[in-house]
Each structure stands twice: as structure tokens, then as C-alpha cells.
């Protein structure tokens, strides 16, 4: 299976040759390489998250690449019903046990560390997930968030290829 995806970063003096590893407690699915499935949201991400005061060039870059993987190494919580409900069940099973033990709800980081530390889903290389647009910017019907804002988390660099610069855009 192959997917063409987008990666957004600040404009740098030296062009990226490979996507940046996203690290930290706020990454939805833990450390990994994050991509946008649709160009419009890679642009939105640049405008909203890569155009802060620290960005002196007032530009950001969008890259394209290809992800190549087997379907059984892929959890698709966006378009596959079975993947979605199984994913939800595992998150909630973990949360239930965590609450029982710690008397508080787990954080995003607790869940991701648990999955990684215990090598759960060890063969899974790609997870597709989504949220919904928070504004009407990319929506043609006001207040109706019918579009999925889809991302892919990759934890195996080997499946990333054809990483090329696509375009630079100015912050507006």
C-alpha cells in the first residue's frame, strides 16, 4: 500500500532531506513522524503552528513523500470501522485499569508510553487518525465540520521515501 502525504516545517536555511521527528508528551500517538493526508491541512498547520513570533522568515515549507507499507502493519482509525472500534476498546481498557490503579485518568503520554514500553502493536508502522476542523476556514458550509482533518503517525523511518520539497508559503 502506498500513500502520498505532506509534512510541514518552518523554512530553514538548509533544506530538509528527511522529515523531522516529533517528540514530546503532546504528540497524539507518541514520538514519530507525523504527516497530513491532505494538502489544505498541511497549509493550515503551517499558518497556525509554524508562523509564531519565533519564525523570522515569515515563511514555512511543505514537503511531500511516499509511505509504503503492508496493510496489516496499518491501523486506520479514520476509514476502517473494525480498526476504529478495536482502537477505542484498547484505549478504554487501558484507561479503566489506569484509573483503578492510580485513582486518576491517564494522560496522552501515559497511554503512549504504555503501548511502547510493553511493545504492544509492535508490528504496526502507521496509524491514521483524525480530528475535526476547529474553524470554518476550510469548510464550505458554515459551522458544519463535515471534513476530517487526517494525520498519519509513522514509527518506522524505512517506509518513508521520495521525500521532496513541495513549496514554500508566506505566513499571512
Amino acid at each position: 500500500m502506498e500513500l502520498e502525504v505532506y509534512h510541514t516545517q518552518e523554512l530553514r536555511s538548509e533544506e530538509l532531506k528527511f522529515p523531522c521527528l516529533a517528540e514530546g508528551s503532546q504528540q497524539w500517538l507518541g514520538d514519530g513522524y507525523y504527516f497530513w493526508q491532505d494538502y489544505e491541512f498541511s497549509n493550515w498547520w503551517g499558518q497556525n503552528k509554524k508562523c509564531g513570533n519565533g519564525n523570522r522568515t515569515r515563511q514555512f515549507s511543505i514537503f511531500k513523500c511516499i509511505l509504503t507499507f503492508n496493510e496489516e502493519d496499518f491501523i486506520d482509525t479514520v476509514f476502517d470501522e473494525q480498526d476504529y472500534y478495536n482502537f477505542v476498546a484498547i484505549v478504554e481498557k487501558f484507561a479503566k485499569k489506569y484509573i483503578q490503579k492510580n485513582k486518576s485518568k491517564p494522560s496522552l503520554e501515559d497511554f503512549n508510553d504504555f503501548i511502547s514500553d510493553f511493545n504492544i502493536w509492535g508490528n504496526i508502522k502507521v496509524i491514521r487518525f483524525q480530528d475535526v476542523p476547529e474553524s470554518d476556514e476550510h469548510i464550505e458550509v458554515k459551522g458544519f465540520y463535515y471534513k476530517k482533518r487526517i494525520q498519519l503517525r509513522v514509527n518506522e523511518p524505512e517506509i518513508i521515501s521520495n521525500f521532496v520539497h513541495f513549496k514554500n508559503l508566506y505566513c499571512v
Binding site: E71, E72, D83, N86, F118, W121, P157, E158
Partner: protein, 105 residues
Amino acid sequence: MTANWNKLNKEFDDLFDKLTDEDWNNWTSHRESKKALRREVLNLKARIQSIMLELKNKSEEFSCNINFETKANLIEDESKAILDFNTKRRIAKISTDDYTPPIAA
């Protein structure tokens, strides 16, 4: 076709249902060191893949597929061996120093 949930759920349940209180409490003790190791492995793998992509691009640019492909394969094999060795060494160190969680079947 989708992810093999029979396998994934079995792996999860086998591990999850057997976790003792001690396993659970010990899990939190060394999260940061394990996370640092995972990041190191991920960064090394990314560097290897980045070099591989660059070599492949050059191979196409100069139309000398055999030499570059051969060289790329050698670098990849060697890098993987080093990465494998370093990872095993670090994991061995962590497991002798600290607690290691059970690995899913």
C-alpha cells in the same frame, strides 16, 4: 484488509490480564530511560534511511545504479548491524540495571 485484530487483541490481552500490581508499579519507574532509548533508535533509523534516499537519488542522477545500489546495500547492512548491536546492548544494560516489562507474545 485491515490490521490483524485477532493477533493484536490477543497480544494485548495476554499481557494486560497477566500484569501484576508489581509489574504495574514498576512500569512507571524507568519510563524516561526507555523513552530516551526509543528516540535514539528512531533517530538512528532515520539517519540510515536519509542516507539511503540520498544515495538512491544520486544513483538515479548519475545513472550508475549498480555501484550506488551495491554501496547503499552495504551501508544499510552495516548500519543495521550496528544499530541492532547498540540496541541490544542498551536493552541488556537496562534489563540488568532496572526492571524490564514482559514482552507481548
